[in-house]
Symmetry: C2
């Protein structure tokens, strides 16, 4: 079943649910213990030979998972200048499989022959150079797990609950292992930055080879210790829609600065005020001034299960689980409220807590069948805590599309339905 | 280009190669610096709109990567009782994308409806139970990154160099983030193990719902702190060929014990001596006795680039990179030799060094154009060091198909060709 909370309970299931409602962590099927003292019936799947090895030399998901796909929140007037979202409610752990990494393109997905692709590094550097993909593969590499989040993610919640499920509210968010060459190694390869483009004051212009020639200016001193020029994600070469054959990864910075189909890095003395950092990706504040070059995605979290579209089928135990992340470091703690924000308690953080990567949290919850609301709040390693929507609106007003990171509330009706309301 | 070392150099490339051969880490294209002072030509991919968002709601690799697929080392008489290997030479970082995780099946890949699937936990437990997938999703979960290796991996090297490339010698090896329920949590759900099946002496029988009813006995005290019953890999539900909808993960143990399509866990007092632990997966030693229940995969490493099939196209710098792992803990160090084993130096370990997970290593190498051999040697957190083939053969003889973990040597000819010889 795609969604564990969506189906009406079967008769056997209803009996189980009755038992579950009695309390405790116990989870069991209607099958009595005595039934299990006899040999199990042979599984029908054991009676026939299965599909051969290499039926799919490159594997695909189970047909039973056909609804776990990327989706768009709306129809876009230009299909290449659009986005699609990661199905967070159906995912587990912290990594996003490459086939489900969110998309946000400004001019569609180009088809680039890696043998023909070149990366130019020029501007205020001693020896400008063109790099082939082979050149890049002959430099020392580094692999790191980092999240990517579009700065427009969750923007539809600025004006209050949108009613949308978590895939469409928070799904411009993914997390992969990225492999490539450190930006600092590449700058060494071009002889270093010249005095006028010194790294304490220098900027880096990054340009993509797509139809939008996506172009952003980045402050060198804030990215040089961690930016990568990558050719692989989750072990294999980049997917076309993720920048094949080459992209920039600037850990923690808004997604669009991680320029895909990267063809050019130019060291300059000041930001070049491109379209994507003036008319776009800049926030108009309530006082009429602009918040430009915000870059870092602030600490944020969201409950992915249960979440809108799920339905609690019985009173009793549910594990609340979700994701937390910060563009400024690691997640220090996540707190969960199951009474609409009146009280909070710490969630468990699962596995390794990595820098600028998704962190999975989990909290035990016993639903008593009443209407309530569930929320999560992340605090990062800088001490910054995710704000309420009211706090965020007070600071930024209602004109902005970008960098919405407020605490997200899901309502739970007495019927068990979970809604974004 | 699929393989950075395979193609003959173009004219421009030859000029570059001359420069590289001059020494230093410098990598650069023939394009002169002066050329880069003029504006770059607009990329052809910038002149036309790209493909739309959601062209693939579930994404697929670039057509340029069509050769990066699983492969079998030989034709198998029964296509469902066969294996396929992960293309290690083409992968980066430490994770294996789900579509490239190796296969080893004994009765083919069953098609299982997750709504109908049940897991029975019975035997020496207080309250035997059947669990639905929904039941399992309502228990606390855990995610961890672990490698899987078939105990037959690299078995074709027992009699000396097989001539095969690394995909076929070491490709029964993959690494994923696994999400599911701790075995210990499930045993709590059935009221715990009864006195006669106490965890210090108890065994666990695990059975799959495939046509082979793959069945193994496992020592509870050695697995209870870390075994997981998992429903997800790398963020999404298991792939069919990886046990959809449910499998056992026993971190560090030989692959076949991580029973796929898991339908039954029975607590018993002693191993049940199944076919897969008597006639198979047991090693005949030189003295005629059997090495049974070896389980843990010992520390091992292999250089994946350059490796057989690659060709060094010029003298000069190459980063040597590969993978190291141990079924008994973390990797403490990897050493590399570039002179046929005469001298060794430490390799860099990349990223987080995780328990029973693949670890990426890297070492700088300057090839002087002479014939040589390159090797790697792993040492794990227990202090165990990967043996030479001679040491392994002295200890185990030549009758065994399983648990081959000797140091692997790749020859480099003066022509630059890399061979398993």
């Amino acid at each position: 079943m795609m969604n564990p909370h969506n189906s009406p309970p079967s008769r056997g299931r209803r009996r189980l649910l009755g038992r579950l409602a009695a309390g405790g962590l116990a989870v069991s099927h209607a099958a009595a213990a005595s039934e299990l003292l006899r040999p199990l019936e042979v599984a029908s799947s054991s009676r026939v030979p299965g599909a051969p090895v290499l039926e799919h030399p490159y594997g695909v998901p189970s047909p039973h998972e056909v609804n776990v796909v990327r989706r768009s929140a709306r129809a876009w007037p230009l299909p290449g200048a659009a986005s699609s979202m990661t199905p967070l409610a159906d995912l587990h752990g912290t990594l996003t499989p490459n086939g489900l990494v969110y998309e946000r393109h400004h001019g569609g997905v180009p088809d680039i022959d890696p043998d023909q692709h070149r990366l130019a590094i020029h501007g205020l550097v001693r020896t400008p150079k063109l790099f082939t993909m082979d050149d890049l593969l002959r430099l020392p590499s580094e692999s790191r797990i980092h999240f990517l989040e579009c700065s427009g993610n969750t923007g539809n919640e600025w004006n209050g609950p949108s009613g949308m499920p978590v895939q469409l509210t928070h799904g411009l968010l993914s997390c992969c292992e990225w492999t490539g060459v450190r930006l600092s190694t590449l700058l060494e390869e071009v002889g270093g930055v010249t005095a006028s483009g010194n790294t304490s004051g220098g900027w880096l212009l990054a340009e993509g080879a797509d139809a939008a020639a996506m172009t952003r200016s980045l402050p060198l001193d804030r990215i040089l210790d961690r930016a990568l020029v990558v050719y692989a994600q989750n072990g294999e070469r980049l997917r076309p829609e993720n920048g094949y054959p080459l992209r920039l990864i600037v850990p923690g910075f808004e997604g669009n600065t991680n320029v895909k189909w990267l063809r050019r890095l130019k060291v300059v003395n000041s930001p070049l005020q491109t379209r994507e950092e003036t008319s776009k990706y800049t926030s108009l504040l309530a006082n009429g001034t602009a918040r430009q070059f915000a870059f870092e995605m602030d600490a944020k979290s969201v409950i992915t299960r249960p979440s809108p579209g799920h339905r609690l089928t019985t009173h009793g135990y549910y594990p609340i689980t979700g994701l937390a992340w910060s563009g400024r470091g690691t997640i220090r703690k996540v707190e969960v409220s199951t009474d609409g924000g009146a009280t909070w308690r710490p969630a468990r953080l699962d596995g390794a807590i990595l820098d600028r990567a998704l962190t999975r949290f989990q909290a035990d919850w016993r639903w008593d069948g009443g209407a309530t609301a569930i929320l999560s709040r992340a605090t990062d390693s800088t001490g910054y805590a995710q704000p309420t929507r009211a706090e965020l609106v007070a600071a930024r007003g209602l004109n902005s599309q970008y960098h919405y990171n407020a605490i997200q509330q899901w309502r739970v009706d007495a019927s068990g339905e979970v809604r974004n309301a």
